[in-house]
C-alpha cells in the first residue's frame, strides 16, 4: 500500500513539474521545497520531500475552491439518487451530523447531511462538507451512536481532504487540473458542470479513495464520535453488521468495490480502540429520537 502511495506521489511530482504554476484558482501555495525541478534521478530523500510538498499543497487548497469542487461532486451524486422525502428525518440527520462536526477543526464549513433514497448500503462525502448516507445503510443501523459513527467516518474524509487528493491523483495534471476543471464549471457556465468535471467526479467515486485513507477515516471517525459523547465502539458494531451481510449481495457491490472489506477494517481498528475502555452510557433521549425519526418510519 505504501508502494502505491509512492507511485501516486511520483505521478504528482511529474505532473507538477510539467504543469505551469499559473493556475486558475488563486489562494493556494505550492509550498516550499521545489525538488521537482531537479530532474532525472529521484532519490528517496527527494521523494519524501516531494510527498511533504504534495500533502502541503492539498491541505493548502483554497477553501472556496474545495467547497466548489465538493458542490459539483454532490450534484453528481444527487443525480444518481435523490434525498428521501422526509423533512423530519433529514433535519434529524443534520442535527446529529452538526453535533459531530462541531467536534472537529472545521465546523465552519457549509455542512449538509442527507439520506438518499437508495437501497444500496453506502455513504459518501464530498469536499467542503456534503455527507450522504443511503437509506439502505441507515436501515441496518441500530441507534444514534451508529449513525454518528458512519457520519464521523465521512466527516473525517472531508477534514483530511481525501477526495481532493484522490481526484488529483486521477487527473493527468494533478491538483492544478482539478482546479482548472472546477474553475471552468463555476465561472464559465454558472450552475452548469462541464462534462469533464462530471467525468472526473464519477471516476473518483467509482474507484474510491486510497485504502489507507479509509483506514484513517475509521480511526479518526471513532475519535470524533467519541469527542461528541457517542459510544466509540459503535463503528465496530456497524462494520460487524456489514461483515455479516453476504459480500455478494448486490446492495454492497459499490461499497466493496471502493472500500476495504469490513473484516480488514475491523482488524485495523482493534488496536486503535484500546484507549476507550470505559463504557459510554447511551441516553434514553437518543434512543427515543432515533426511533422516532429513523427506526419507526413506515
Amino acid at each position: 500500500m505504501k508502494f502505491f502511495l509512492h507511485l501516486t506521489s511520483l505521478l504528482f511530482l511529474v505532473s507538477f513539474s510539467l504543469s505551469t504554476p499559473a493556475l486558475d484558482f488563486g489562494g493556494f501555495g505550492l509550498g516550499g521545497g521545489g525538488n521537482e525541478e531537479e530532474g532525472n534521478s529521484i532519490d528517496i530523500g527527494e521523494l519524501f520531500d516531494g510527498i511533504k510538498d504534495i500533502s502541503r499543497t492539498i491541505t493548502g487548497i483554497d477553501e472556496e475552491a474545495e467547497i466548489e469542487i465538493g458542490r459539483d461532486a454532490a450534484a453528481v451524486l444527487l443525480g444518481a439518487s435523490k434525498p428521501v422525502n422526509d423533512p423530519d428525518l433529514q433535519r434529524y440527520v443534520n442535527k446529529v451530523g452538526r453535533w459531530v462536526v462541531n467536534q472537529t477543526s472545521r465546523p465552519h464549513l457549509p455542512w449538509r447531511f442527507a439520506v438518499l433514497s437508495s437501497d444500496h448500503v453506502n455513504a459518501f462525502a464530498t469536499p467542503g462538507g456534503n455527507i450522504f448516507i443511503t437509506d439502505g445503510l441507515l436501515r441496518t443501523l441500530n441507534g444514534e451512536a451508529e449513525l454518528a459513527a458512519v457520519l464521523a467516518h465521512e466527516v473525517a474524509h472531508v477534514i483530511q481532504k481525501h477526495h481532493i487528493k484522490a481526484m488529483s491523483s486521477l487527473n493527468t495534471s494533478g491538483l492544478s487540473g482539478v482546479l482548472k476543471l472546477a474553475g471552468q464549471t463555476s465561472s464559465g457556465q454558472s450552475n452548469q458542470l462541464t462534462t469533464a468535471m462530471v467525468g472526473q467526479v464519477k471516476d473518483m467515486y467509482l474507484r474510491g479513495l486510497d485504502k489507507d485513507d479509509e483506514f484513517e477515516a475509521d480511526r479518526m471517525g471513532v475519535v470524533i464520535a467519541s469527542r461528541a459523547g457517542y459510544d466509540p465502539f459503535a463503528l465496530v458494531a456497524v462494520l460487524q453488521t456489514l461483515d455479516s451481510i453476504n459480500p455478494e449481495d448486490s446492495s454492497l457491490a459499490l461499497l466493496y468495490k471502493t472500500h476495504p472489506p469490513a473484516s480488514d477494517r475491523l482488524d485495523r481498528l482493534d488496536s486503535s480502540l484500546a484507549q476507550f475502555e470505559d463504557p459510554v452510557e447511551e441516553s434514553p433521549l437518543l434512543e427515543k429520537r432515533f426511533n422516532t425519526y429513523v427506526a419507526r418510519r413506515p
Binding site: 491541505t59 443534520n94 441500530n142 451512536a145 477534514i159 465502539f233 446492495s251
Partner: protein
C-alpha cells in the same frame, strides 16, 4: 416472544448500548479471554479459541455478553464476527438490517417478503449515468443546522486526541494548516 424482546430491550436501554443483538450467532475471530465482567481486569473464566461458536446476548460498549456451549461471560467486541447472512436473497424474512434494527427498536418486522429484485439507486451503473442535479443540492439548505445551534442531544463532549499519525491537529509543523 417479540413483546418480551421489546420489553427487555427497553429495560436495558439505559444501561447498555443499543445493539440488542439478542440471541445472535457469531464466532470468536481470534484467541481471546472470556471475562466474568465487561472489564479487562475482571476475572478470566476461560480462554476461547478462534472459530468458537457463540451466541451474543447483548453489547455493552466494547464488550459482548456471550454464551458458549459451556460458559457465559464477556468478550471484547473486536474479537467477534457475526455469522454471515444473506441480506435479501437467501433469507427474505431475516435480512440483517431487519433483524438487528427490529430487535433494537421493537419495530415490527415487515410481513412483506423481500424479493431479490435489483437494488435501486447509486449502483455503479446509475452513478455512471447520473446527470448532475444542482436543484437537489440547493434544496439541502432547507435542512442544514447552524454551527451555533443548541445541542439538543444532551451529550457531553470529551477531549480525545487523534491517534498518532492521524488528523490535522498533530501536523502543526506545516505552515499551511488552517486548523486552529
Amino acid at each position: 416472544m417479540r413483546k418480551l424482546l421489546y420489553f427487555s430491550t427497553l429495560i436495558f436501554v439505559c444501561l447498555t448500548s443499543s445493539l440488542s443483538a439478542a440471541d445472535k450467532s457469531a464466532v470468536i475471530s481470534r484467541d481471546t479471554e472470556l471475562f466474568s465482567k465487561p472489564f479487562k481486569d475482571a476475572e478470566t473464566i476461560t480462554q476461547l479459541s478462534t472459530q468458537t461458536a457463540i451466541i451474543i446476548l447483548k453489547r455493552k460498549g466494547g464488550w459482548y455478553q456471550i454464551k458458549t456451549d459451556t460458559n457465559e461471560g464477556w468478550v471484547r467486541l473486536t474479537h467477534v464476527r457475526l455469522a454471515r447472512k444473506n441480506k435479501a436473497q437467501q433469507d427474505p424474512d431475516n435480512n440483517v438490517g431487519e433483524i438487528l434494527s427490529g430487535l433494537a427498536t421493537g419495530r415490527e418486522k415487515s410481513d412483506q417478503a423481500t424479493t431479490a429484485t435489483a437494488v435501486k439507486g447509486l449502483s455503479e451503473e446509475e452513478l455512471r449515468n447520473a446527470e448532475p442535479d444542482v436543484d437537489a443540492l440547493n434544496a439541502l439548505d432547507n435542512f442544514a443546522v447552524n454551527e451555533n445551534a443548541d445541542n439538543e442531544s444532551g451529550l457531553q463532549t470529551h477531549k480525545v486526541d487523534y491517534l498518532a499519525g492521524d488528523g490535522p491537529e498533530i501536523k502543526k509543523t506545516s505552515p499551511n494548516e488552517e486548523d486552529e
